[in-house]
Each structure stands twice: as C-alpha cells, then as structure tokens.
Amino acid sequence: MQNNNKREKDRKVLVVALLGVTALALTAAVSFGVTTFSAQAGGTGSYQTGTLLLSKTNSSGTCLSSSNSAGSITTNINAACAGSDLGSGTTNVPQVNQTSTVTLTNQGSINSASGLTLTTGACSAVAAPYGSSALNPLSSGSDTAGFCGKVDVTIFSTTTGKCVYPVAAGACPAPSSSNTLVTLASASPLALATSLAAGASVGLTITTQLDASATNADQGLAANATMTYTLGQ
C-alpha cells in the first residue's frame, strides 16, 4: 500500500515535470498556469498549480510582480515599478523628514511559507536640478560621492508594529546618519514577514530625511537605489 502510493506520487510528479519541460520548450520560460491531467490509477482527477504573486501599492499606484495575463508569468519579477518608495518632491531639506506608505500583498492563491523580504541595491547619486529657476536651471550640488550617505532612512512595519530597518522591537528610532541608503544597501535582506497568507498584506512606513550633516553641496541631488521585494513559497 505504501509502495503503490509512492509510485502514484512519483508518476504525478513526473507528469508535472514533463509538462513543465514542454511548457518551457513552447514558451522559452517557466510558466505556471492552469494545468490539468488524467490520473493513471483510479478515475478522473485534476491538478492545478497555485500562483504566488506579489503586489505593491505606493503613492504612485499598484505594481504587480506579474503582468497578470494568462501565460505570462515567467520570472515573476516586475522590475519596472513606478514611483518612489522613499517619498517625493524637490523640497527636501536637512532634518525635515517625510514618510511614504507602501503596502505589499500576496495576490496569489497559495500561502507564502518562507515570507517576504526586501533587498536594497547600491545607491547612486546624480544631479537632479530643480528646473524652475529662471536664472539657473542646472544648479545642483557637487557632493554626489557623499549624498547617499546623507539620506537617512527607517522602515517600520505597520503590520507587526516593529521597526524593520533598523531592526527594533517597536517604533523606529529617529532618522539619523546611522541608517542611510548606504548602510541599507549593505544590510542583509530585510525580513518583512516570515510568512504571508494568500491575500494578506504587509504595510510599511518608510521615513526618509536629509541628514543634518547635509550642506549646500547636497542641494538638488537625487539618490537612486533598487529596492527588491521578494515573496517566496
């Protein structure tokens, strides 16, 4: 009885594998959609793979990890989410913080047992001139090398009530030079949730502030980094 069951499982797995290879051959990408098959032992059955999809909502709108059309899930990473999670505007000055709200939702059909993480890539700074000056549309500061280290950042989970970055049991500390876009990039992936049920969300409040050490040389600069949210099965 045990051996038969094991063979049955093996056969199902094998079919799934073959179907997967076939799908790869046809689409040149791993695709998990609705797939049905017939069982060899005992009547007619069906098998459907689940989906694991992540969405992010910020002030610019909602972005989904998949383009959400049938058969299009491949790497299941959308690398072109619009809007900044670090706030907006061209009027940021030292020691005045701003917050932005980010909501991450498991839009798939299956629960995530391994949870949700955030990885931040290296920060780079560029001149981002304020363009409305009648006299000097190209004015930006010269501190491109040091600017990323002067953007203080904290990330608070409104779902858990804990500070995610820096990790703290409760509220985040005030933004400071101890936690900047530079230190965030070198941090281990941040665990935003250890698991995330289908349909469940994680809310984040990201606070940014131009550090008190910023000078005129930091005026008009923009810091850019890639933030990757990953939801595992």
Binding site: V21, A217, A223, G232
Partner: protein, 715 residues
C-alpha cells in the same frame, strides 16, 4: 552499490531543472536550486531628491545668483555680485529685487553689512612709507591694464570730470624727483598727476610738479616756473597705452620720457627748485587750469585708464626708464619699481574692496545730534532728542540694541506735547506705558510733566522709577499720591543688571474709582481692579505735558522716590498706549521674541501705540567718513531699517551704514536710500565710502548668500 540519496521526487525535480538549464541556455543564466519554489518579486529604482536654495538679486537689470550656473556648482552657495545695492550718489536710492530661484522657500532673509564701513583705498606698495590713496568721484576699478603686460594687469578708470585719487600724506617738495604713470587717455585733456598744498580739488595756494595733456595731445611737465612740452610728433592718441615718465634734477634739469625713450628735456631747468611747501599728490587731477604754466588743459581731471603711478625721490636715469618700459609683466614691472626705491607707488590694481578706516585729515568724525525715532504709526512724529550723555547698548533686549543713560546728564526729550490730543489737558487718563529696562541703581525710567525740558515743572505725575531697594514703582496723582510698587508682591531687587520688562496701565472704572496696575516681566506685581480713588473720572492729574525718557521729577515730593531723577542704565522698546493693556496683552508683549515681533505688537498686535521709541539707534561707524552717511532700507511694505511699520521715514541722522536686519519669510524688493548726516567738510566731497553688503536667506540647513563689495557712496 552506489546509493542515490535523493528521493524519486527529488530526482524528478532535478530532471526538470536540468531540462530548464538546457533550454535556458538561450535565455541567459539562471540559478537552479533543489526544491525550487514559486516566488514573486517587485523591484524598482527609487529616488530621493534634495531641494535647492538659491537667491538672486536684481539691481538695475543686472542679475546676481548665489550659485554659479553650472552643474555641481553649489558649494558655499555664495556669489560676489558686481552690482551694489547702494546708490553711488548720496541722497538717492537704489532698488534691489530679491528672488528665490530654488525649489525650497526660504524661511528668512537677512540684509547686513558684511564688514567694516570704510573708504576705498588705492594702495601704496612702496616700502619707504605709506601714502594711501583714496578714491573720489567717478573712479572705477578693474579696467584692462597696460597692454605691454601679459599677466592680466588692471587699472583704474577716471571719468574726466569728477574722479580722482587723493593721497593722505603731506610731503615736502623735493628738487629732485621722478613722476611715472601708465596711461590710456580717452581724451586729449587733463592732468595725470599733480601736487598741491591742500587735499581735495579745492583751489590751492600752491601747486607744482604736475604732468598734463594739452588739447594737442602733447604731454607737458610743469615745475616751478617752467613748462616742458613733449614734441608735436609724440602727441598722444586716445585709446592707446603710454608709459610716461618725467624727471627733474638740479643737475640735468627736466626731462620727458614716452614709452621708455627720452622725448624732450630742458637742462636749464636744472637750476630751478620746486616750490617750497608741503603738499599732497593727486592722481588723475592737478590744479592746472588757471595756473602759471603754459599749454594748459581745459580741465584738471584726467579721462581714461591709469596704472602704476609712482613718485621717486630722484631723477631716474634714461637707462632706468628704459628698463622699466622693457618689462613685460605687471609683476616684473612692480618689482623693478620697488627696486628703484620710490617714495610712493600706487600700482592701481585695486578692486575697491580694500577699505581705509583710519582718520582722514580735515574730515573728523561726524558729531551729528542723536535723534530717537518714534516708530509708532500714530503718526510717528513724537521724535526724541538726546540730551546729555547717551550711548548705545549693543546687548539690548529681544535681540536689538538699546540706549544707555549715564545717570546724571542723559535723558531724551520728546517732541509732542500740547495742544496735540492725548497730550493736551487733561493729559492721558486711560493709558499704558511699556518698556525694557536694565540698571544696577535707583533712577527714573520716564515721567510726564508740564514742561518739555527737564526744568522744574508746575505739575508732574505718571512717573515710573526704580527705588533704592530695586523695586519698580509707578505713580499718578489723582489729587493725591498714588503709587503701585512691585514690593507689594515680591521683594525682588530689579536693579540687578539684567533686562526686565515693565508695564503700567491706568484706566478709570467710574467717576470715583480707577485701576492702576503694574506688571514686571509679564506678571502682575502690584495693583488691582478699582484700587485707586479718583475724582472726576481722572485717574491721573489733569494737565497737558510731555514725556521724558530717562528722567522724571519723582525725586521731588513723591514717596519712596528714586535716588536720582536721571536713569543710570539702559532703556529700550519704550511705548505709550492710549489704552489700558490687558494681562494677556502684557504677556504678548513680554513674549515677543524679536524686535520685529515687538514692533508688530505695539503697532496693532496688542494695541496701536501712541508713541513708540525703540531706542535702538546705532553707534556711529568707526570710520569718520562713514559717520556722515545715514540710510534707510525699505522692504516691500515694511521699513526694515530703521524698523518701522509702513514706509521708511526720511533718513534719520543716526541710522548709519552699519546694519543687520532679518526679513521674515518673503523675499521683498529692497530700496536703499542714503543721505548725508551732518555737514560734510569739503575734504570729504566725493569720497568713496563703501561697505560690503550681504544679502542671504536660508531654509532648514541650506543657505544662500550674495555679497556686494565693489560699490560705494560718494559722500
């Protein structure tokens, strides 16, 4: 037998992974892992942008921006503007329009002097002595220097009608000497260098040792009774640089060199001496017109550019002149000049930013009378006039300066009395007095008497003083002495050398009862509602009179009088209200953190004052010339210097060029108006009085700044 440790399921997944790898060879690398899982991800490049703080000002159509107009250019965010907010003509105004060119709205703007006020100087770099030159009239800096030099020399430019350089040291005339200059005339006229026995362009009694250009363009050199004229062939043309040297020697006579070569000479003049007098060198000016020399110009003023003027105590040799002319850089030329040991050498590479703050003969510091403005808007004409010894306390209350009183002679007489309403009989009956005081002794803060002066009046009350115990006392005389004394609630000695804020309020409650209250430092310390018995609804004595600041007649007949009728200490922000302020009003006044906030309060915020004397008039600048120039600054609808509501008054005589004021929130148009304070000696006419100006703004850590150093006011 080799055992495969993987389960069949794992082996199947491995097959999938390998198959995927095989296919993915076309797709680029992927990472295959055992137990592959579903995953979803989101990524995006996010950004954070800092704001910008940029300040511009526009003067006469010329813009100046706090940052250079290049990417990455913002560092100190400070620019040096080629424009100047002050008009160069005394008695006129100049308007500067400030603009915020950045993305961040500034929270404050400040207009301030950026350094000492002084007179622009033409530096004497000789090593034998300093004979500083001063700029006068139409003299400007920074024109291109002698074309023979390759290291970007500069020169001064004279307008041919008002500009010249005056020197400070009176020197004895010498029989042997050399005069030298690089010139680029713009007119065939005027004097290059000349000596007279007086400073300035006033007619001298003695003139000698002079070089000029006549109407034919020929150079002339005058010494004693001789005029040596350059050849007709060497007539100068305008717009060309020439190196001019003249020498006088008791041995070889007079000589003119042009561009390093001897042009003309007169050996017979060697026997001549120079006139015997002590005189001053004038650069670009000489008393030629009407003199006894020949081939005279029609104007004494040189027109054109000039550099490297020098006087040597001997006749340079022809070789020495040739050597000088052969130099190809300003640096090498200057070195050679100094090697030839001049008495004075003015390279005229000046920029106008070097200021002379020392004494100037015949131009003593201005001793203008001290006037203390009435900054109230009712209508602000109750001006105070200083009497006796008064001074400036730079550490006044609420960030402003204050006036010091010597305790024995100094007090301030006010202008308005009867028959003006409120001052005419019965005098103020509902009123409040407010002000800041600082003292370590007993004396009078203010008083109201029937006399404008501080003689013995026929009636006197409404007096405020500090008694010998340091208690604050206020008294009125409703047919009897009535005093409120801080000792009623506190034993505190307020004569402790610190600033304190006092308010007294008086108002009738009924025909027979009045209320007199005394507040110190925002708290009610004496008096209560209906505490005063009065007659005829008059809580104070019935008479018309004048306010006196720093003096009262309380030493005469009043209980618990002050030790002195005068005030020994400082007073500031004194206001008289035609109403009884409430306790909340008093708190508001006491809490006003700045002079501008206090001004807003006393001109309507808590009540419209009848008179308001800030007593923040400034001390005259250290430079004598600067003590003749007063000014106002109008910022949009507010006068920020002196600080007043609405339009600035006619320039008060003690509002010197030394200014530092803050302008809140908005960037206005500033109008600077200058005026002469006092009577300027002729010596000072046209002198370039200059002070660096800084206009800055800031917002939460960012700042921008514009400095102006090159301008001047011709006194």
């Amino acid at each position: 037998m080799t055992t495969n440790p993987r389960t069949p399921a794992q082996r199947c997944w491995a097959g999938v992974a390998l198959g995927s790898l095989a296919l993915m060879g076309l797709l680029g690398p992927i990472t295959a892992v055992w137990g592959a899982k579903f995953s979803g991800g989101l990524a995006g490049t996010i950004g954070f942008q800092a704001g910008t703080q940029l300040l511009s000002d526009t003067i006469g159509g010329t813009n100046c921006l706090s940052s250079p107009n290049t990417v990455g250019g913002i560092g100190t965010n400070q620019s040096s503007c080629t424009t100047y907010p002050l008009s160069s003509t005394i008695g006129s105004s100049s308007t500067t329009t400030l603009g915020n060119q950045g993305s961040v709205a500034p929270t404050q703007a400040t207009v301030a002097t950026g350094g000492a006020c002084g007179v622009q100087e033409l530096v004497d770099t000789s090593t034998t002595g300093t004979n500083t030159g001063l700029a006068f009239g139409g003299l400007t800096y920074g024109a291109t220097g002698p074309g023979a030099f390759t290291d970007a020399p500069t020169s001064i430019t004279l307008d041919g009608s008002t500009g010249w350089g005056e020197t400070l040291t009176s020197l004895a005339g010498q029989a042997n000497y050399t005069l030298m200059a690089w010139i680029k005339p713009s007119a065939r006229n005027g004097v290059l260098i000349g000596d007279t026995n007086v400073q300035s362009t006033t007619a001298p009694t003695n003139t000698d040792r002079m070089v000029w250009i006549d109407s034919s363009g020929r150079l002339n050199f005058g010494n004693n009774t001789t005029t040596l004229r350059a050849t007709a062939a060497s007539a100068l043309t305008t717009g060309t640089w020439y190196f001019v040297v003249v020498t006088k020697s008791t041995g070889s006579g007079m000589a003119i060199y042009v561009n390093g070569a001897l042009n003309n000479s007169s050996a017979s003049a060697g026997a001549e001496s120079t006139l015997s007098y002590n005189g001053y060198w004038h650069l670009g000016w000489g008393s030629a017109v009407g003199s006894g020399f020949s081939n005279l110009p029609t104007t004494n003023y040189f027109a054109g550019s000039m550099a490297d003027v020098a006087v040597f105590p001997s006749a340079l040799s022809a070789a020495a002149v040739t050597t000088l002319y052969g130099k190809t850089t300003q640096a090498a030329f200057s070195t050679q000049v100094l090697a030839d040991a001049p008495t004075s050498y003015w390279p005229l590479q000046d920029t106008g930013s070097a200021l002379y703050t020392g004494a100037i003969a015949n131009l003593p510091a201005n001793a203008a009378a001290t006037t203390y403005r009435d900054a109230s808007n009712n209508p602000g004409t109750n001006v105070g006039t200083g009497q006796g010894t008064l001074g400036v306390d730079a550490s006044g209350p609420i960030g402003d300066s204050a006036t010091t009183f010597d305790g024995s002679t100094g007090w301030i007489q006010t202008a308005t009395g009867p028959p003006t309403a409120f001052y005419a009989s019965p005098g103020p009956q509902t009123f409040s007095l407010a002000g800041w005081f600082k003292t370590t002794s007993s004396g009078s803060i203010l008083g109201f008497t029937t006399l404008q002066g501080n003689g013995t009046p026929t009636m006197w009350d409404r007096h405020m003083w500090v008694d010998p115990s340091g208690h604050v006392v206020f008294g009125v005389y409703p047919n009897g002495y009535f005093e409120v004394n801080s000792s009623a609630t506190t034993a505190k000695n307020y004569a402790d050398g610190n600033w304190h804020f006092v308010v007294a309020t008086v108002a009738p409650v009924s025909a027979t009862v009045g209320t007199v209250l005394l507040y110190v430092d925002g708290a009610l310390v004496a008096g209560s509602a209906g505490d005063e018995t009065i007659t005829g609804s008059d809580p104070a004595q019935v008479y018309g009179g004048w306010w006196h600041l720093g003096w009262s007649n309380a030493t005469s007949t009043w209980p618990d009088p002050p030790t002195s009728a005068y005030w020994g200490g400082s007073l500031g922000q004194m206001a008289v209200f035609p109403s009884a302020l409430s306790g909340a009003n008093v708190s508001s006044l006491y809490g006003a953190p700045t002079a501008s906030a206090y001004l807003a309060a006393v001109t309507g915020g808590v009540g419209a004052s009848n008179a308001f004397w800030p007593l923040d008039e400034k001390a005259p600048p250290g430079s004598p010339a600067c003590s003749y120039i007063a000014m106002t600054i109008q910022a949009a609808a507010t006068c920020v210097y002196p600080l007043e509501v609405g339009a600035c008054p006619a320039v008060p005589p003690s509002n010197w060029l030394s200014v530092s004021v803050g302008i809140s929130l908005t960037l206005p148009t500033l109008t600077f108006t200058t005026a002469v304070s006092g009577s300027v000696p002729a010596t000072g006419t046209g002198i370039h009085v200059s002070v660096p100006w800084v206009i800055s703004d800031g917002a939460s850590g960012f700042s921008s700044r514009l400095t102006h150093t090159l301008g001047y006011v011709a006194l």
